[in-house]
Amino acid sequence: MAYSDKVIDHYTNPRNVGTLDKASAQVGTGLVGAPECGDVMRLQIQVDENNIITDAKFKTFGCGSAIASSSLATEWLKGKSVDDAMKIDNMDIVEELALPPVKIHCSVLAEDAIKAAINDFRVKNGMEPIELEKSHH
């Protein structure tokens, strides 16, 4: 199975690889997946006083599609409000990267990582975590 050009592009030149200060109140961290499953994503967002995501970073252990999905997610997150970020759907990632059916779980993981990061940020700042529907994998 060949990878799409967009997956190859994100895989070869991953955007926003790195680490933000986990301890900062402005930073939300989402760590999803499990090593036994062959996929772990860590996605971090930095949020300003207007609830805008000013920076996003990721690190991913996984296949090319998992790396590309998280790279794309960070690209989309930057500049978005937290509320808009909540609306990112895994199927948007599937479409953008032209992921085949066997790789859809990579996009689900990226969506989960975004939501986990937002909830971490909310909890740190005294807000209730958003109730997430049981993810579909």
């Binding site: 090593p35 772990v40 991913t60 989960d112 986990a116």
Partner: protein, 427 residues
């Protein structure tokens, strides 16, 4: 070394082939010789006439065309038999090792069902053996799947304990396709025989790579394939012992009664001729080739295990000369292969499969799932050059380091966080 020998070879095709290999390094580089091997140009040369003017049906006993084809097949039968120390009457040509495994296991089960219904095999066998055994279970047979030790070897005591008066067959592979581990078949055969059972071995990865002798090893049935030893795809053989004891298998295909009634179907004459030639070449070159390949493999392995947290899978003292299976912890195998796109290798990770289950062979060595996901199999071959190995080392090192920079697990490891202490989300 072999290349120099090949340069002096009579075959013009091979001389040209070798000249190209030496002067131009082809990219991508093929290091997946356990999956299949490129065909040796000398094998192709031997096969070609049998597609055209020697096209006859080997079963046409009454005219020239049939005789010519039959001669080709007879000669190939001798070449195959010689490589494994058998007599030519003990070689049954098939479509490949999967068919040979099926014919041996199902055929023995049917033939000897009055004697017993129990078969013993191991969990690290190829699917062709495991699935044939599962079929036998559906037919009412009993199968014991032996666990293996951490290094991939079968435990003699466990085998001994599993033997029953009902046991008719023990089937243990010669060399493993994923980790290259070589089983002590001689000892295993002796245990099987002591209890009155036959011993079969799937020797697909071993024949042509290391010396295999059916008499010295005590093998009653042996499966082999041409395309794993520089021959064509779609042809293989089953060795069936004729003396001490005389072994019989029930045919799994009905038809014209070819191959002494054990395998009907018009013989694949060009393929069989190719298999024969591949066996002849392996017999002549195996010793030097094994030495050269284990040298290159050891070089590759030494250079890659310099990387932190990399582990060689399986027993390294009893291993096929051309294989190294290495796990690079904190990096996922499929992602790694993508970064090594100029190398054709194989991974124990199965990110693409619906089950997401990593290699069952690696898991049965007791490897954790994450290490199994991190494994890469390097399979060197007759046409692998040192230059290619050097290149592979560079590409792999770079890819592992690059992906570790991207890996949250590597970062945690470096920070001294115990990954087992983390509560990973359900996935």
């Amino acid at each position: 070394m072999q290349f120099i020998a090949a340069k002096r070879c009579k075959s013009k095709t091979l001389r040209i082939f070798v000249w190209f290999k030496i002067h131009f390094m082809d990219i991508p580089i093929y290091l997946d010789n356990n999956a299949t091997t490129p065909m040796d140009p000398r094998v192709l040369e031997a096969m070609l006439p049998y597609f055209t003017n020697k096209f006859g049906n080997a079963a046409s006993r009454n005219h020239h065309f049939g005789w010519v084809a039959e001669e080709g097949v007879d000669y190939a039968r001798e070449q195959v038999a010689k490589l494994i120390g058998a007599s030519e009457k003990e070689i049954i040509f098939t479509s490949g090792a999967t068919e040979s495994d099926n014919l041996a296991i199902k055929g023995v089960f049917e033939m000897y069902k009055d004697k017993g219904n129990h078969i013993i095999t191991a969990v690290t066998e190829h699917k062709a053996v495991l699935d044939a055994c599962k079929h036998v279970e559906k037919l009412g047979g009993k199968v014991t799947y032996l666990a293996v030790k951490e290094d991939g070897l079968v435990d003699h005591a466990e085998l001994e304990a599993a033997m029953t008066p009902e046991t008719i067959l023990v089937s243990i592979m010669y060399g493993n396709n994923e980790i290259g581990v070589i089983q002590p078949v001689k000892e295993i055969a002796a245990i099987a025989h002591k209890h009155g059972a036959l011993f079969m071995t799937d020797a697909t990865q071993a024949v042509g790579k290391i010396p295999v002798d059916v008499n010295a090893d005590g093998i009653d049935l042996l499966a082999l394939s041409a395309h794993k030893m520089y021959g064509p795809k779609g042809v293989g053989a089953l060795y069936v012992r004729r003396k001490g004891p005389r072994v019989k298998v029930t045919a799994q295909m009905d038809g014209g009664g070819h191959e002494r009634g054990m395998r009907s179907g018009t013989l694949n004459v060009p393929g069989i001729v190719g298999l024969g030639k591949a066996c002849e070449l392996a017999g002549q070159e195996m010793e030097a080739e094994a030495k050269r390949l284990s040298g290159l493999r050891d070089k590759l392995q030494a250079a890659l295990t310099v990387l932190e947290e990399s582990y060689v899978n399986g027993n390294v003292d009893h291993r096929l000369p051309h294989v190294a299976n290495i796990s690079f912890k904190y990096v996922e195998g499929e992602g790694l292969m993508m970064a090594m796109k100029d190398l054709a290798v194989s991974s124990g990770s199965a990110c693409t499969s619906a089950s997401l289950e990593p290699s069952y062979v690696l898991k049965s060595l007791g490897l954790s799932d994450d290490l199994a996901h991190s494994s890469i199999r390097f399979g060197l071959g007759r046409f692998t050059t040192e230059e290619e190995v050097d290149y592979a080392i560079e590409v792999t090192k770079k890819a592992v380091n690059h992906l570790r920079e991207l890996s949250p697990l590597w970062e945690m490891f470096k920070e001294g966080i115990d990954l087992n202490s983390i509560e990973w989300a359900e996935h």
